[in-house]
């Protein structure tokens, strides 16, 4: 064996050794550490993001946008990457409109990530981009906007910071409105740019469904404006107006006072955003006489011309004396309703009897939810006849000992306007997908017939008399036939547990035009100061809203119809 041969062996050995090392390293990397290294590579090259489809839009019956989503910047800080928290806070404070020390406190935390301000205005994001501060970043998040501000706020509700519906329609239709959430893995290159967006179509999460409401933005505005003015003028605690289409149950407007702006709810309490039109019950007072009269006419206990003695304004029942607001002697049943005689109503109720009275109250929807598609509705208070006292029949006939919501009352009176058929009230008329295709059409729903068409028409004539000759004269709208009823109810003083002499609820409920109703409306003014009669505080509001809405809807005045017919 020569030296050259031994060198060759040595070279071979070195090569084998080298290959052996490479092989060993390969086995280590590819087999032994494969899982760990793959995961590390994935972390570097893949980005997992949660994409969320935009929340569905809410529009009125004419497609006017009432709520929609928009992407806005949220500002965060990375304290560990900041050179000087003090200088960063000084620059950020005027842009974010947050106190400098508050920002600095957050930036001095021992964390890798802190939120500084979420869902700010787009202009603030642009200004922040110009500042370009190291360690301060921005991500886009969906924010709910209510472009009309307080308009319809109690019906729309609002969403929380996480985009979940918390109140109103936003809560009731959360399942339909929220966008699809999807976690997607994106590949990125060494510069952090996204590459190979595989299956683009599948990656985009679907937007939430859009809702079309029965609400008319203009009618809603008229109702809110007039309600606000009435509540301010009477220094009342609160108020509500509901405008409904009697033939369908579609709600055209639902105004509640005091108002709030759903864009800025953080500082408000539940008391402010509660939809009093369906969460608060009140004793309806004389508006309940509409139901008592309907029952009496249907059961033929009374006819419009039946004579009733008013006991000269004073009558004792079960050791308590009930009064009328004026001394009344003999009067017809129609006059009794028009003058809103408590004694006459009590006598009518007693003629009906407990069982029949209770049956009609239930049939008109009292003591149960109307099942309107809004959250928080209460069923009101209607005790079973077993729990009634000796005076209950008389009290209920006058609208006491029974708690109703404004929505229940307007639904009941709508049934009279609708020839005796009670409809289910509703707010959402259509659900559409993101492409605008209709997924669900909500149609009017008949609940039941409560009285015959004859009874409904007879009662309508009587209720017209309330406005032409009775307590509701201030609800009269020139050129239109109005049917309605006033109501003034004392409230129970929570301190004494008895009826208060100062706290009351004034209301007016009715429909117009009486011969071919287009609107049913209730106006409720809670705790007005000074003169609190429903005919004084609520009836004029009914008139003002009614005449504007009828003009807006293009409903001809009776006198104009007569002129047009004469001209032919």
């Amino acid at each position: 064996m020569g030296p050259s041969r031994s060198r060759r062996y040595l070279l071979l050995l070195l090569l084998l050794g080298g290959f052996g090392i490479i092989l060993f390293r390969l086995v280590t990397l590819q087999v032994l550490q494969a899982a760990e290294l793959t995961a590390r590579a994935d972390r570097q090259h893949q980005k997992s993001v949660t994409l969320e489809g935009a929340r569905g839009t809410v529009t009125d019956r004419h497609g006017k946008v009432l709520a929609m989503n928009m992407e806005v910047p949220s500002i965060f800080g990375v304290p560990t990457s900041l050179d000087s928290p003090t200088s960063a806070a000084r620059s950020l404070s005027p842009v974010l409109r947050i106190r400098r020390d508050e920002i600095e406190k957050k930036l001095r935390q021992d964390k890798h990530f802190v939120w500084l301000a979420r869902k700010v205005e787009p202009e603030q994001g642009q200004r922040l981009e110009q500042l370009s501060i190291d360690g301060i970043g921005m991500v886009m998040e969906g924010r709910r906007f209510y472009p009309k501000g307080p308009l319809l706020a109690h019906v729309l509700g609002f969403v929380g910071m996480d985009g979940l519906g918390l109140e109103g329609l936003e809560r009731r239709y959360e399942l339909q409105l929220h966008g699809e959430k999807r976690v997607t893995i994106l590949q990125r290159d060494a510069l952090g740019r996204t590459v190979f967006p595989k299956g683009l179509r599948e990656q985009v999460p679907a937007a939430g469904h859009a809702l079309t409401l029965t609400i008319d933005e203009v009618i809603q505005y008229i109702a809110e404006k007039e309600l606000e003015e009435a509540v301010n003028n009477t220094h009342a605690k609160a108020g509500a107006i509901i405008v409904m289409e009697p033939q369908t149950g579609a709600i055209l407007a639902m105004a509640v006072s005091p108002r709030f702006d759903p864009n800025t709810v953080a500082a408000l309490t539940a008391d402010r955003w509660r939809n009093r039109a369906l969460t608060d019950t009140y004793e309806p007072g004389s508006t309940m006489k509409v139901v008592v009269a309907a029952a009496a006419l249907e059961e033929k206990v009374m006819m419009p011309g039946s004579m009733v003695f008013g006991e000269n304004g004073r009558m004792t029942i079960a050791n308590t004396t009930i009064h009328d607001h004026e001394k009344m002697g003999w009067m017809t049943f129609a006059q009794m309703i028009q003058k809103s005689s408590n004694i006459g109503a009590a006598k009518t109720g007693m003629l009906l009897g407990e069982q029949r009275m209770y049956r009609y109250l239930q049939a008109f929807g009292f003591g149960q939810r109307t099942e309107v598609d809004l959250p928080g509705e209460v069923g009101g208070l209607l005790k079973s006849p077993r729990e009634w006292g000796r005076r209950s029949l008389a009290s209920i006939s006058m609208g006491q000992e029974v708690g109703v919501t404004p929505l229940q009352m307007v639904s009941a009176v709508s049934a009279i306007a609708n020839d005796g058929v009670l409809m289910k009230p509703y707010v959402v008329s259509e659900v559409r997908d993101q492409k605008g295709q209709s997924l669900k059409n909500i149609l009017p729903h008949v609940r039941r017939r409560v009285v015959s068409p004859d009874t409904a028409r007879t009662l309508t004539t009587i209720l017209e008399g309330v406005v032409t000759n009775g307590t509701g004269m201030k609800a009269a709208i020139a050129g239109y036939r109005v049917a309605g009823k006033t109501g003034t109810a004392q409230k129970v003083d929570p301190r004494t547990g008895t009826y208060s002499s100062t706290l009351s609820v004034g209301s007016f409920v009715g429909f117009v035009p009486a011969d071919a109703p287009r609107l049913a409306m209730i106006v409720v003014i809670d705790e007005p100061q000074g003169e609190a009669w429903g005919g004084v505080v609520a009836a004029p509001v009914f008139r003002r809203v009614g005449e504007q809405v009828l003009t807006y809807l293009g409903v001809s005045r009776d006198d104009q119809v007569k002129i047009a017919m004469a001209a032919r």
């Binding site: 006017k64 946008v65 009432l66 929609m68 989503n69 928009m70 992407e71 787009p122 886009m140 906007f145 472009p147 009309k148 501000g149 308009l151 740019r193 996204t194 590459v195 190979f196 967006p197 683009l200 933005e217 203009v218 505005y221 404006k225 020139a478 050129g479 005449e547 504007q548 003009t551 293009g554 409903v555 001809s556 005045r557 104009q560 047009a564």
Partner: protein
Amino acid sequence: MKVITFIAGLCLVFLFVWERVDIVRLGYHVERLKTQKVLLERERDQLQVKFSTLTAPERIAKVATDKLGLVPPQQGQVFIVHPQPVVPVLATPPVEQVRIARSMPIGRGDK
């Protein structure tokens, strides 16, 4: 033959590499377009919000009364005319409602 096979193989390798590079290039292009789409959608939404805010009835009423000095029509000032079609036509046109203010406030009507 071997040379041709080698060249064909080399071409296939180049084709494969070119395809991969082009996919990456198109991927970047798609990403740019996606970003552009998102920005345009964002702008559209911002404009929609702005439009809805500006067309709010409350704002329009405020501008009409405060800036333009308009007043709501009083009782008897609004007439609603439902014109009847005089000549029968093949397709019935929708009945339009025309509103006429009978007495305009003096000094504003001609402006």
